[in-house]
Protein backbone atom coordinates (compact mmCIF):
# COMPACT_ATOMS: atom_id res chain seq x y z
CA UNK A 1 0.00 0.00 0.00
CA UNK A 2 1.47 3.28 -1.03
CA UNK A 3 -0.74 5.42 1.23
CA UNK A 4 0.38 5.92 4.82
CA UNK A 5 -1.95 5.81 7.82
CA UNK A 6 -2.21 9.64 8.10
CA UNK A 7 -2.85 9.85 4.34
CA UNK A 8 -5.76 7.44 4.64
CA UNK A 9 -7.16 9.43 7.55
CA UNK A 10 -6.88 12.61 5.50
CA UNK A 11 -8.67 10.87 2.65
CA UNK A 12 -11.48 9.74 4.96
CA UNK A 13 -11.90 13.26 6.37
CA UNK A 14 -11.94 14.70 2.85
CA UNK A 15 -14.66 12.31 1.71
CA UNK A 16 -16.71 12.88 4.85
CA UNK A 17 -16.41 16.64 4.46
CA UNK A 18 -17.32 16.55 0.75
CA UNK A 19 -20.29 14.25 1.29
CA UNK A 20 -21.66 16.31 4.17
CA UNK A 21 -21.12 19.54 2.30
CA UNK A 22 -22.86 18.24 -0.81
CA UNK A 23 -25.78 16.93 1.20
CA UNK A 24 -26.23 20.19 3.11
CA UNK A 25 -25.94 22.18 -0.10
CA UNK A 26 -28.57 20.04 -1.80
CA UNK A 27 -30.98 20.48 1.09
CA UNK A 28 -30.44 24.24 1.32
CA UNK A 29 -29.73 24.89 -2.32
CA UNK A 30 -32.68 23.13 -3.92
CA UNK A 31 -35.40 25.33 -2.42
CA UNK A 32 -33.21 28.42 -2.86
CA UNK A 33 -32.44 27.61 -6.50
CA UNK A 34 -36.14 26.87 -7.12
CA UNK A 35 -37.12 30.18 -5.63
CA UNK A 36 -34.42 32.06 -7.57
CA UNK A 37 -35.50 30.42 -10.82
CA UNK A 38 -39.13 31.47 -10.41
CA UNK A 39 -39.23 34.70 -8.41
CA UNK A 40 -39.82 38.08 -9.99
CA UNK A 41 -38.32 39.80 -6.97
CA UNK A 42 -36.64 43.04 -7.99
CA UNK A 43 -33.51 42.55 -5.97
CA UNK A 44 -32.89 38.97 -6.97
CA UNK A 45 -29.63 40.04 -8.63
CA UNK A 46 -28.19 41.05 -5.24
CA UNK A 47 -28.65 37.56 -3.86
CA UNK A 48 -27.31 36.01 -7.05
CA UNK A 49 -24.20 38.17 -6.83
CA UNK A 50 -23.62 37.14 -3.21
CA UNK A 51 -23.97 33.46 -4.08
CA UNK A 52 -21.50 33.84 -6.96
CA UNK A 53 -18.88 35.60 -4.82
CA UNK A 54 -16.89 32.42 -3.98
CA UNK A 55 -16.33 31.97 -7.72
CA UNK A 56 -14.19 35.09 -7.93
CA UNK A 57 -12.84 35.70 -4.43
CA UNK A 58 -9.43 34.28 -3.54
CA UNK A 59 -10.20 31.42 -1.15
CA UNK A 60 -7.90 33.04 1.42
CA UNK A 61 -10.15 36.11 1.53
CA UNK A 62 -13.18 33.95 2.16
CA UNK A 63 -11.23 31.88 4.69
CA UNK A 64 -10.01 35.00 6.46
CA UNK A 65 -13.52 36.36 7.01
CA UNK A 66 -14.79 32.96 8.05
CA UNK A 67 -11.93 32.65 10.53
CA UNK A 68 -12.90 35.97 12.06
CA UNK A 69 -16.59 35.11 12.14
CA UNK A 70 -16.14 31.60 13.52
CA UNK A 71 -13.25 32.43 15.89
CA UNK A 72 -13.73 33.10 19.63
CA UNK A 73 -14.25 36.85 19.09
CA UNK A 74 -16.40 36.60 15.97
CA UNK A 75 -20.21 36.78 16.01
CA UNK A 76 -20.69 33.06 15.34
CA UNK A 77 -17.92 32.12 17.79
CA UNK A 78 -19.42 34.26 20.55
CA UNK A 79 -22.83 32.80 19.89
CA UNK A 80 -21.38 29.29 20.17
CA UNK A 81 -19.65 30.15 23.41
CA UNK A 82 -22.76 31.72 24.93
CA UNK A 83 -24.57 28.50 24.11
CA UNK A 84 -21.92 26.52 25.95
CA UNK A 85 -20.08 25.30 22.87
CA UNK A 86 -16.63 26.13 21.63
CA UNK A 87 -15.62 28.34 18.70
CA UNK A 88 -15.87 26.60 15.34
CA UNK A 89 -12.53 27.73 13.95
CA UNK A 90 -10.10 24.81 13.58
CA UNK A 91 -12.87 22.19 13.97
CA UNK A 92 -14.39 19.78 11.47
CA UNK A 93 -17.76 21.56 11.82
CA UNK A 94 -16.12 24.86 10.95
CA UNK A 95 -14.55 23.17 7.95
CA UNK A 96 -17.94 21.99 6.71
CA UNK A 97 -19.46 25.45 7.21
CA UNK A 98 -16.62 26.96 5.21
CA UNK A 99 -17.00 24.37 2.44
CA UNK A 100 -20.74 24.93 2.20
CA UNK A 101 -20.19 28.63 1.55
CA UNK A 102 -17.20 28.02 -0.71
CA UNK A 103 -18.98 25.44 -2.91
CA UNK A 104 -22.41 27.08 -2.87
CA UNK A 105 -22.36 28.53 -6.41
CA UNK A 106 -21.33 25.17 -7.84
CA UNK A 107 -24.55 23.63 -6.55
CA UNK A 108 -27.01 26.53 -6.78
CA UNK A 109 -26.17 27.72 -10.27
CA UNK A 110 -26.68 24.41 -12.13
CA UNK A 111 -29.90 23.82 -10.17
CA UNK A 112 -31.19 27.31 -10.84
CA UNK A 113 -30.56 27.13 -14.56
CA UNK A 114 -32.04 23.63 -14.77
CA UNK A 115 -35.19 24.77 -12.97
CA UNK A 116 -35.39 27.85 -15.19
CA UNK A 117 -35.11 25.61 -18.26
CA UNK A 118 -38.08 23.55 -17.08
CA UNK A 119 -40.22 26.68 -17.39
CA UNK A 120 -43.70 27.31 -16.07
CA UNK A 121 -45.67 25.40 -18.66
CA UNK A 122 -45.09 21.79 -17.51
CA UNK A 123 -46.03 22.86 -13.98
CA UNK A 124 -49.20 24.54 -15.19
CA UNK A 125 -50.10 21.41 -17.11
CA UNK A 126 -49.54 19.34 -13.98
CA UNK A 127 -51.76 21.74 -12.03
CA UNK A 128 -54.59 21.15 -14.50
CA UNK A 129 -54.00 17.42 -14.00
CA UNK A 130 -54.75 17.71 -10.27
CA UNK A 131 -51.19 17.85 -8.94
CA UNK A 132 -50.66 20.02 -5.85
CA UNK A 133 -47.69 22.43 -5.79
CA UNK A 134 -45.47 20.03 -3.80
CA UNK A 135 -46.56 17.11 -5.97
CA UNK A 136 -45.68 19.12 -9.11
CA UNK A 137 -42.28 19.97 -7.71
CA UNK A 138 -41.30 16.37 -7.02
CA UNK A 139 -42.96 14.68 -10.01
CA UNK A 140 -42.33 17.29 -12.69
CA UNK A 141 -39.73 19.90 -11.77
CA UNK A 142 -37.16 17.58 -10.16
CA UNK A 143 -37.22 14.87 -12.86
CA UNK A 144 -37.09 17.46 -15.65
CA UNK A 145 -34.16 19.18 -13.89
CA UNK A 146 -32.32 15.93 -13.18
CA UNK A 147 -29.26 16.79 -15.27
CA UNK A 148 -28.97 19.94 -13.16
CA UNK A 149 -28.99 17.83 -10.00
CA UNK A 150 -26.31 15.52 -11.34
CA UNK A 151 -24.12 18.44 -12.34
CA UNK A 152 -24.73 20.14 -8.99
CA UNK A 153 -23.84 17.04 -6.95
CA UNK A 154 -20.68 16.24 -8.85
CA UNK A 155 -19.43 19.79 -9.10
CA UNK A 156 -20.23 20.49 -5.46
CA UNK A 157 -18.53 17.30 -4.32
CA UNK A 158 -15.46 17.62 -6.54
CA UNK A 159 -14.99 21.27 -5.77
CA UNK A 160 -15.14 20.60 -2.04
CA UNK A 161 -12.57 17.81 -2.35
CA UNK A 162 -10.31 20.20 -4.20
CA UNK A 163 -10.47 23.18 -1.84
CA UNK A 164 -7.27 24.33 -0.18
CA UNK A 165 -7.19 27.98 0.77
CA UNK A 166 -10.36 28.10 2.83
CA UNK A 167 -9.48 24.88 4.60
CA UNK A 168 -6.02 26.11 5.45
CA UNK A 169 -7.38 29.35 6.88
CA UNK A 170 -10.19 28.02 9.04
CA UNK A 171 -9.32 24.36 9.48
CA UNK A 172 -5.69 24.64 10.25
CA UNK A 173 -3.89 21.42 9.62
CA UNK A 174 -4.81 19.15 12.51
CA UNK A 175 -4.18 15.52 11.52
CA UNK A 176 -7.17 13.34 12.28
CA UNK A 177 -9.54 16.29 12.57
CA UNK A 178 -9.10 18.90 9.89
CA UNK A 179 -6.25 17.67 7.71
CA UNK A 180 -7.68 16.96 4.24
CA UNK A 181 -5.98 15.47 1.18
CA UNK A 182 -5.13 18.73 -0.54
CA UNK A 183 -3.27 19.90 2.55
CA UNK A 184 -1.64 16.53 3.10
CA UNK A 185 -0.24 16.81 -0.44
CA UNK A 186 1.09 20.25 0.36
CA UNK A 187 2.75 18.85 3.49
CA UNK A 188 4.34 16.00 1.54
CA UNK A 189 5.77 18.42 -1.01
CA UNK A 190 7.05 20.73 1.73
CA UNK A 191 8.77 17.71 3.28
CA UNK A 192 10.13 16.66 -0.15
CA UNK A 193 8.20 13.37 0.13
CA UNK A 194 7.35 13.27 -3.58
CA UNK A 195 6.34 9.61 -3.63
CA UNK A 196 3.40 10.13 -1.32
CA UNK A 197 2.54 13.43 -2.99
CA UNK A 198 2.43 11.57 -6.31
CA UNK A 199 0.11 8.88 -5.04
CA UNK A 200 -2.35 11.29 -3.47
CA UNK A 201 -2.26 13.75 -6.36
CA UNK A 202 -2.60 11.05 -8.99
CA UNK A 203 -5.48 9.48 -7.10
CA UNK A 204 -7.31 12.81 -6.86
CA UNK A 205 -6.69 13.56 -10.52
CA UNK A 206 -8.07 10.22 -11.64
CA UNK A 207 -11.10 10.35 -9.33
CA UNK A 208 -11.99 13.88 -10.46
CA UNK A 209 -11.65 12.97 -14.10
CA UNK A 210 -13.82 9.89 -13.70
CA UNK A 211 -16.55 11.84 -11.90
CA UNK A 212 -16.69 14.55 -14.55
CA UNK A 213 -16.64 11.99 -17.33
CA UNK A 214 -19.64 10.24 -15.84
CA UNK A 215 -21.53 13.55 -15.55
CA UNK A 216 -20.94 14.52 -19.14
CA UNK A 217 -21.78 11.04 -20.40
CA UNK A 218 -25.04 10.87 -18.45
CA UNK A 219 -26.02 14.42 -19.31
CA UNK A 220 -25.62 13.62 -22.96
CA UNK A 221 -27.96 10.65 -22.58
CA UNK A 222 -30.55 12.79 -20.73
CA UNK A 223 -30.46 15.42 -23.43
CA UNK A 224 -31.08 12.94 -26.20
CA UNK A 225 -34.45 12.23 -24.56
CA UNK A 226 -35.51 15.85 -24.56
CA UNK A 227 -37.63 16.92 -27.51
Amino acid sequence: MMLSEPDLTALAITLKMALLTTLILLLLGTPLAWWLARTRWRFKFLLEAVIALPLVLPPTVLGFYLLIALGPHGPVGELMESLGGRPLAFTFTGLVIGSVIYSMPFVIQPLQSAFAAVGRRPLEVAATLRASPLDRFFTIAVPLARHGFLTAVVLGFAHTVGEFGVVLMIGGNIPGETQVVSIAIYDHVEGLDYTHAHWLSGGLLLASFLMLMVVYAINRRFRSFQP
Binding site: R121, V125, L129, R130, A131, D135, L144
Partner: protein, 355 residues
Amino acid sequence: MTIEARFHIEKAGFTQDVDLCLPARGITALFGPSGCGKTTLLRAIAGLERHAGGFLKVGDMTWQEGNRFIPPHRRPLGYVFQEASLFAHLTVRCNLEYGIKRVPKSARRISLQQTIELLGIGHLLDRKPGLLSGGERQRVAIARALAVSPRLLLMDEPLTGLDLASKQEILPYLESLHDELEIPVIYVSHVLEEITRMADYLVLLEAGRVVATGAIHEMLTRLDLPLAHDSDASAIFEATVAGNDKDYHLTYLDFAGGQFTVIRKELPVGSAVRLRVAARDVSLTLEHQSDTSILNIFPATVDEIIPEGKAHVTVRLMVGGISMLASVTLKSASVLDLHPGKSVYAQVKSVALLS
Protein backbone atom coordinates in the same frame (compact mmCIF):
# COMPACT_ATOMS: atom_id res chain seq x y z
CA MET B 1 -76.66 24.53 -16.17
CA THR B 2 -74.60 27.58 -16.97
CA ILE B 3 -71.11 28.94 -16.57
CA GLU B 4 -71.04 32.39 -15.04
CA ALA B 5 -67.82 34.35 -15.30
CA ARG B 6 -67.10 37.92 -14.28
CA PHE B 7 -63.55 39.20 -14.46
CA HIS B 8 -61.86 42.54 -14.37
CA ILE B 9 -58.33 41.92 -15.54
CA GLU B 10 -55.58 44.49 -15.64
CA LYS B 11 -52.23 43.65 -17.13
CA ALA B 12 -49.46 45.93 -18.30
CA GLY B 13 -51.44 48.40 -20.40
CA PHE B 14 -54.34 46.04 -21.05
CA THR B 15 -57.72 46.06 -19.35
CA GLN B 16 -60.28 43.36 -19.77
CA ASP B 17 -63.83 43.44 -18.50
CA VAL B 18 -65.86 40.34 -18.96
CA ASP B 19 -69.31 39.40 -17.73
CA LEU B 20 -70.49 36.17 -19.28
CA CYS B 21 -73.17 33.59 -18.82
CA LEU B 22 -72.48 30.60 -21.03
CA PRO B 23 -74.36 27.35 -21.56
CA ALA B 24 -72.63 24.50 -19.72
CA ARG B 25 -73.02 22.11 -22.62
CA GLY B 26 -71.66 21.76 -26.13
CA ILE B 27 -68.72 23.72 -27.44
CA THR B 28 -68.51 27.42 -26.64
CA ALA B 29 -65.96 29.27 -28.72
CA LEU B 30 -64.09 32.35 -27.53
CA PHE B 31 -63.37 34.00 -30.84
CA GLY B 32 -61.45 37.12 -31.72
CA PRO B 33 -58.22 38.46 -33.19
CA SER B 34 -54.85 37.76 -31.54
CA GLY B 35 -54.32 39.87 -28.45
CA CYS B 36 -58.02 40.34 -27.68
CA GLY B 37 -57.66 38.55 -24.35
CA LYS B 38 -59.05 35.10 -25.20
CA THR B 39 -56.21 33.14 -23.62
CA THR B 40 -56.09 35.42 -20.59
CA LEU B 41 -59.78 34.78 -20.01
CA LEU B 42 -59.32 31.03 -20.40
CA ARG B 43 -56.43 31.04 -17.92
CA ALA B 44 -58.55 33.01 -15.46
CA ILE B 45 -61.31 30.40 -15.81
CA ALA B 46 -58.79 27.61 -15.18
CA GLY B 47 -57.38 29.44 -12.17
CA LEU B 48 -53.89 29.52 -13.68
CA GLU B 49 -54.04 33.27 -13.17
CA ARG B 50 -55.72 34.78 -10.18
CA HIS B 51 -57.50 38.08 -10.67
CA ALA B 52 -58.86 39.73 -7.55
CA GLY B 53 -62.57 40.43 -7.49
CA GLY B 54 -63.40 37.80 -10.10
CA PHE B 55 -66.42 35.56 -9.96
CA LEU B 56 -66.71 32.13 -11.53
CA LYS B 57 -69.40 29.55 -11.16
CA VAL B 58 -69.52 26.38 -13.25
CA GLY B 59 -72.85 24.62 -12.83
CA ASP B 60 -73.27 24.24 -9.09
CA MET B 61 -69.54 24.66 -8.34
CA THR B 62 -68.30 28.09 -7.29
CA TRP B 63 -64.62 28.32 -8.22
CA GLN B 64 -64.03 31.95 -7.40
CA GLU B 65 -66.00 34.48 -5.36
CA GLY B 66 -64.67 37.26 -3.15
CA ASN B 67 -61.70 35.84 -1.26
CA ARG B 68 -62.63 32.30 -2.15
CA PHE B 69 -60.35 30.93 -4.85
CA ILE B 70 -60.12 27.25 -5.68
CA PRO B 71 -56.60 26.56 -7.00
CA PRO B 72 -56.45 24.92 -10.43
CA HIS B 73 -55.46 21.49 -9.12
CA ARG B 74 -58.69 21.31 -7.11
CA ARG B 75 -60.93 22.27 -10.05
CA PRO B 76 -62.37 19.33 -12.00
CA LEU B 77 -61.28 20.70 -15.37
CA GLY B 78 -59.20 19.63 -18.31
CA TYR B 79 -56.93 22.04 -20.15
CA VAL B 80 -55.38 21.64 -23.58
CA PHE B 81 -52.63 24.17 -24.21
CA GLN B 82 -51.66 25.60 -27.56
CA GLU B 83 -48.44 23.57 -27.53
CA ALA B 84 -49.04 19.97 -26.48
CA SER B 85 -46.67 20.40 -23.51
CA LEU B 86 -46.30 16.70 -22.84
CA PHE B 87 -44.02 15.76 -19.96
CA ALA B 88 -40.75 14.99 -21.73
CA HIS B 89 -39.51 12.60 -19.04
CA LEU B 90 -42.56 10.34 -19.23
CA THR B 91 -43.82 7.94 -21.89
CA VAL B 92 -47.15 8.62 -23.56
CA ARG B 93 -48.79 6.08 -21.25
CA CYS B 94 -47.36 7.75 -18.12
CA ASN B 95 -48.41 11.15 -19.45
CA LEU B 96 -51.98 9.85 -19.76
CA GLU B 97 -51.89 8.21 -16.34
CA TYR B 98 -50.45 11.26 -14.58
CA GLY B 99 -53.81 12.93 -14.15
CA ILE B 100 -55.93 9.79 -13.67
CA LYS B 101 -53.84 8.69 -10.68
CA ARG B 102 -54.72 11.93 -8.96
CA VAL B 103 -58.47 11.67 -9.52
CA PRO B 104 -60.41 9.72 -6.87
CA LYS B 105 -61.94 6.52 -8.23
CA SER B 106 -65.48 7.75 -7.54
CA ALA B 107 -64.93 10.78 -9.79
CA ARG B 108 -63.67 8.80 -12.80
CA ARG B 109 -66.31 8.73 -15.50
CA ILE B 110 -64.08 8.31 -18.53
CA SER B 111 -61.70 5.36 -18.69
CA LEU B 112 -58.16 5.54 -19.97
CA GLN B 113 -59.09 3.02 -22.65
CA GLN B 114 -61.95 5.25 -23.82
CA THR B 115 -59.71 8.28 -24.30
CA ILE B 116 -57.06 6.18 -26.04
CA GLU B 117 -59.64 4.88 -28.50
CA LEU B 118 -61.36 8.22 -28.96
CA LEU B 119 -58.09 9.84 -30.04
CA GLY B 120 -56.59 6.82 -31.76
CA ILE B 121 -53.30 6.78 -29.88
CA GLY B 122 -53.12 3.12 -28.84
CA HIS B 123 -50.00 2.53 -30.93
CA LEU B 124 -48.10 5.41 -29.29
CA LEU B 125 -48.36 4.41 -25.64
CA ASP B 126 -44.79 3.25 -25.08
CA ARG B 127 -43.12 6.10 -26.93
CA LYS B 128 -41.48 9.17 -25.47
CA PRO B 129 -43.06 12.50 -26.49
CA GLY B 130 -39.87 13.58 -28.28
CA LEU B 131 -40.48 10.95 -30.95
CA LEU B 132 -44.05 11.96 -31.85
CA SER B 133 -45.24 14.22 -34.66
CA GLY B 134 -46.94 17.51 -33.82
CA GLY B 135 -50.39 16.11 -34.53
CA GLU B 136 -49.76 12.97 -32.47
CA ARG B 137 -48.52 15.04 -29.56
CA GLN B 138 -51.61 17.22 -29.54
CA ARG B 139 -53.85 14.14 -29.67
CA VAL B 140 -52.06 12.74 -26.63
CA ALA B 141 -52.46 16.10 -24.88
CA ILE B 142 -56.20 16.09 -25.57
CA ALA B 143 -56.52 12.50 -24.35
CA ARG B 144 -54.53 13.39 -21.23
CA ALA B 145 -56.89 16.28 -20.45
CA LEU B 146 -59.96 14.09 -21.04
CA ALA B 147 -58.65 11.24 -18.93
CA VAL B 148 -59.16 13.19 -15.69
CA SER B 149 -62.93 13.10 -16.38
CA PRO B 150 -63.23 16.88 -16.41
CA ARG B 151 -66.54 18.63 -15.76
CA LEU B 152 -65.30 21.41 -18.04
CA LEU B 153 -62.77 21.13 -20.86
CA LEU B 154 -60.76 24.23 -21.77
CA MET B 155 -58.91 24.29 -25.08
CA ASP B 156 -56.53 27.07 -26.05
CA GLU B 157 -56.11 27.06 -29.83
CA PRO B 158 -55.17 23.38 -29.92
CA LEU B 159 -54.73 23.48 -33.70
CA THR B 160 -52.64 26.64 -34.02
CA GLY B 161 -49.03 25.90 -34.78
CA LEU B 162 -49.84 22.64 -36.52
CA ASP B 163 -49.45 22.14 -40.24
CA LEU B 164 -52.51 21.62 -42.41
CA ALA B 165 -52.13 17.82 -42.47
CA SER B 166 -51.97 17.64 -38.67
CA LYS B 167 -55.01 19.89 -38.41
CA GLN B 168 -56.97 17.68 -40.74
CA GLU B 169 -55.79 14.73 -38.65
CA ILE B 170 -57.07 16.19 -35.38
CA LEU B 171 -60.32 17.87 -36.43
CA PRO B 172 -62.31 14.63 -36.76
CA TYR B 173 -61.23 13.67 -33.24
CA LEU B 174 -62.37 17.01 -31.90
CA GLU B 175 -65.68 16.58 -33.66
CA SER B 176 -66.18 13.10 -32.26
CA LEU B 177 -65.45 14.62 -28.85
CA HIS B 178 -68.33 16.94 -29.45
CA ASP B 179 -70.63 14.11 -30.43
CA GLU B 180 -69.66 11.47 -27.91
CA LEU B 181 -68.84 13.18 -24.63
CA GLU B 182 -71.18 15.28 -22.66
CA ILE B 183 -68.49 17.58 -21.37
CA PRO B 184 -68.93 21.29 -21.88
CA VAL B 185 -65.99 22.72 -23.81
CA ILE B 186 -64.67 26.26 -23.96
CA TYR B 187 -62.60 26.54 -27.11
CA VAL B 188 -60.35 29.50 -27.87
CA SER B 189 -59.64 30.20 -31.52
CA HIS B 190 -58.99 32.97 -33.99
CA VAL B 191 -59.79 30.78 -37.01
CA LEU B 192 -63.35 31.11 -38.31
CA GLU B 193 -63.15 27.76 -40.09
CA GLU B 194 -62.61 25.84 -36.81
CA ILE B 195 -65.43 27.73 -35.14
CA THR B 196 -67.98 27.08 -37.89
CA ARG B 197 -67.12 23.40 -37.84
CA MET B 198 -67.38 22.80 -34.13
CA ALA B 199 -68.85 25.56 -32.00
CA ASP B 200 -72.43 25.59 -30.73
CA TYR B 201 -72.17 28.89 -28.94
CA LEU B 202 -69.97 31.85 -29.69
CA VAL B 203 -68.42 34.63 -27.63
CA LEU B 204 -67.01 37.36 -29.81
CA LEU B 205 -64.15 39.24 -28.14
CA GLU B 206 -62.41 42.41 -29.21
CA ALA B 207 -59.74 44.34 -27.31
CA GLY B 208 -60.65 42.85 -23.98
CA ARG B 209 -64.39 43.18 -24.13
CA VAL B 210 -67.25 40.97 -25.20
CA VAL B 211 -68.79 42.27 -28.41
CA ALA B 212 -71.62 39.75 -28.63
CA THR B 213 -72.62 36.27 -27.53
CA GLY B 214 -75.12 33.83 -28.93
CA ALA B 215 -75.81 30.55 -30.68
CA ILE B 216 -73.36 29.97 -33.50
CA HIS B 217 -75.81 30.07 -36.44
CA GLU B 218 -77.31 33.31 -35.10
CA MET B 219 -73.91 34.92 -34.63
CA LEU B 220 -72.59 33.95 -38.06
CA THR B 221 -75.51 35.65 -39.81
CA ARG B 222 -75.84 38.79 -37.70
CA LEU B 223 -75.13 41.65 -40.06
CA ASP B 224 -74.06 43.96 -37.23
CA LEU B 225 -71.12 41.67 -36.44
CA PRO B 226 -67.88 41.30 -38.43
CA LEU B 227 -68.40 37.57 -39.03
CA ALA B 228 -71.02 38.16 -41.73
CA HIS B 229 -68.61 40.50 -43.53
CA ASP B 230 -65.70 38.08 -43.68
CA SER B 231 -64.76 36.94 -47.18
CA ASP B 232 -65.68 33.44 -45.99
CA ALA B 233 -68.98 34.57 -44.45
CA SER B 234 -71.37 31.68 -44.30
CA ALA B 235 -74.39 30.24 -42.52
CA ILE B 236 -74.55 26.83 -40.92
CA PHE B 237 -77.43 24.40 -40.68
CA GLU B 238 -77.96 21.42 -38.43
CA ALA B 239 -79.50 18.68 -40.54
CA THR B 240 -80.31 14.99 -40.38
CA VAL B 241 -79.85 12.42 -43.11
CA ALA B 242 -83.30 11.74 -44.60
CA GLY B 243 -82.35 9.25 -47.27
CA ASN B 244 -80.05 8.25 -50.09
CA ASP B 245 -80.76 8.16 -53.81
CA LYS B 246 -78.90 5.23 -55.36
CA ASP B 247 -79.70 6.04 -59.00
CA TYR B 248 -78.43 9.62 -58.96
CA HIS B 249 -75.92 9.01 -56.19
CA LEU B 250 -77.35 11.71 -53.94
CA THR B 251 -78.10 12.16 -50.24
CA TYR B 252 -81.07 14.12 -48.86
CA LEU B 253 -80.64 16.12 -45.69
CA ASP B 254 -83.55 17.59 -43.73
CA PHE B 255 -83.22 20.86 -41.87
CA ALA B 256 -85.75 23.18 -40.26
CA GLY B 257 -86.19 25.20 -43.47
CA GLY B 258 -86.49 22.34 -45.95
CA GLN B 259 -84.32 19.67 -47.55
CA PHE B 260 -80.81 19.87 -49.00
CA THR B 261 -79.69 17.59 -51.78
CA VAL B 262 -75.97 16.80 -51.81
CA ILE B 263 -73.64 14.37 -53.55
CA ARG B 264 -74.03 11.01 -51.86
CA LYS B 265 -72.23 10.54 -48.55
CA GLU B 266 -72.00 7.19 -46.86
CA LEU B 267 -74.04 8.28 -43.86
CA PRO B 268 -76.72 6.27 -42.06
CA VAL B 269 -80.25 7.64 -42.27
CA GLY B 270 -81.05 9.68 -39.15
CA SER B 271 -77.49 10.76 -38.38
CA ALA B 272 -76.87 14.42 -37.62
CA VAL B 273 -74.67 16.57 -39.81
CA ARG B 274 -73.68 20.21 -39.93
CA LEU B 275 -73.83 22.01 -43.26
CA ARG B 276 -72.25 25.24 -44.30
CA VAL B 277 -73.44 27.51 -47.05
CA ALA B 278 -71.14 30.38 -48.02
CA ALA B 279 -72.78 33.75 -48.75
CA ARG B 280 -71.05 33.94 -52.14
CA ASP B 281 -72.62 30.60 -53.16
CA VAL B 282 -76.19 31.85 -52.72
CA SER B 283 -77.96 33.72 -55.52
CA LEU B 284 -81.46 35.14 -55.45
CA THR B 285 -84.37 35.00 -57.88
CA LEU B 286 -87.87 36.37 -57.65
CA GLU B 287 -89.52 33.32 -59.17
CA HIS B 288 -88.88 29.65 -58.63
CA GLN B 289 -86.59 28.62 -61.46
CA SER B 290 -87.47 25.21 -62.82
CA ASP B 291 -85.08 25.22 -65.78
CA THR B 292 -81.90 25.35 -63.77
CA SER B 293 -79.21 22.88 -62.85
CA ILE B 294 -79.22 24.05 -59.25
CA LEU B 295 -80.79 21.46 -56.97
CA ASN B 296 -81.11 23.43 -53.77
CA ILE B 297 -83.69 26.18 -54.09
CA PHE B 298 -85.58 27.48 -51.08
CA PRO B 299 -88.34 30.02 -50.67
CA ALA B 300 -87.00 32.76 -48.41
CA THR B 301 -87.82 36.18 -47.02
CA VAL B 302 -85.36 39.08 -47.03
CA ASP B 303 -84.68 40.06 -43.45
CA GLU B 304 -81.94 42.67 -43.62
CA ILE B 305 -79.60 44.17 -46.22
CA ILE B 306 -76.27 45.85 -45.63
CA PRO B 307 -73.81 47.28 -48.20
CA GLU B 308 -70.54 45.42 -48.60
CA GLY B 309 -67.82 47.48 -50.25
CA LYS B 310 -68.87 49.56 -53.25
CA ALA B 311 -70.39 46.95 -55.52
CA HIS B 312 -71.98 44.38 -53.22
CA VAL B 313 -74.60 43.93 -50.57
CA THR B 314 -74.92 41.17 -47.99
CA VAL B 315 -78.48 39.95 -47.58
CA ARG B 316 -79.75 38.09 -44.55
CA LEU B 317 -82.57 35.73 -45.51
CA MET B 318 -84.94 33.70 -43.42
CA VAL B 319 -85.50 30.19 -44.71
CA GLY B 320 -88.20 28.57 -42.63
CA GLY B 321 -87.07 30.38 -39.49
CA ILE B 322 -83.37 29.74 -40.13
CA SER B 323 -81.10 32.53 -41.28
CA MET B 324 -78.94 32.31 -44.40
CA LEU B 325 -76.58 34.81 -46.00
CA ALA B 326 -76.39 35.81 -49.64
CA SER B 327 -73.84 38.05 -51.26
CA VAL B 328 -75.17 39.80 -54.37
CA THR B 329 -74.16 42.85 -56.35
CA LEU B 330 -75.66 46.21 -55.56
CA LYS B 331 -77.02 46.28 -59.09
CA SER B 332 -78.86 42.96 -58.69
CA ALA B 333 -80.28 44.11 -55.37
CA SER B 334 -81.61 47.20 -57.09
CA VAL B 335 -82.97 45.33 -60.15
CA LEU B 336 -84.73 42.76 -57.92
CA ASP B 337 -85.89 45.57 -55.64
CA LEU B 338 -84.69 43.74 -52.53
CA HIS B 339 -85.98 45.11 -49.25
CA PRO B 340 -86.82 43.63 -45.87
CA GLY B 341 -89.96 41.51 -46.03
CA LYS B 342 -89.66 40.72 -49.76
CA SER B 343 -90.19 37.10 -50.79
CA VAL B 344 -87.46 35.58 -52.94
CA TYR B 345 -85.97 32.21 -53.85
CA ALA B 346 -82.49 31.38 -52.61
CA GLN B 347 -80.48 29.24 -55.03
CA VAL B 348 -77.64 27.45 -53.25
CA LYS B 349 -74.79 26.52 -55.61
CA SER B 350 -72.71 24.57 -53.16
CA VAL B 351 -73.13 23.04 -49.73
CA ALA B 352 -70.24 21.91 -47.55
CA LEU B 353 -70.72 18.99 -45.18
CA LEU B 354 -68.80 19.83 -42.02
CA SER B 355 -69.12 16.61 -40.08
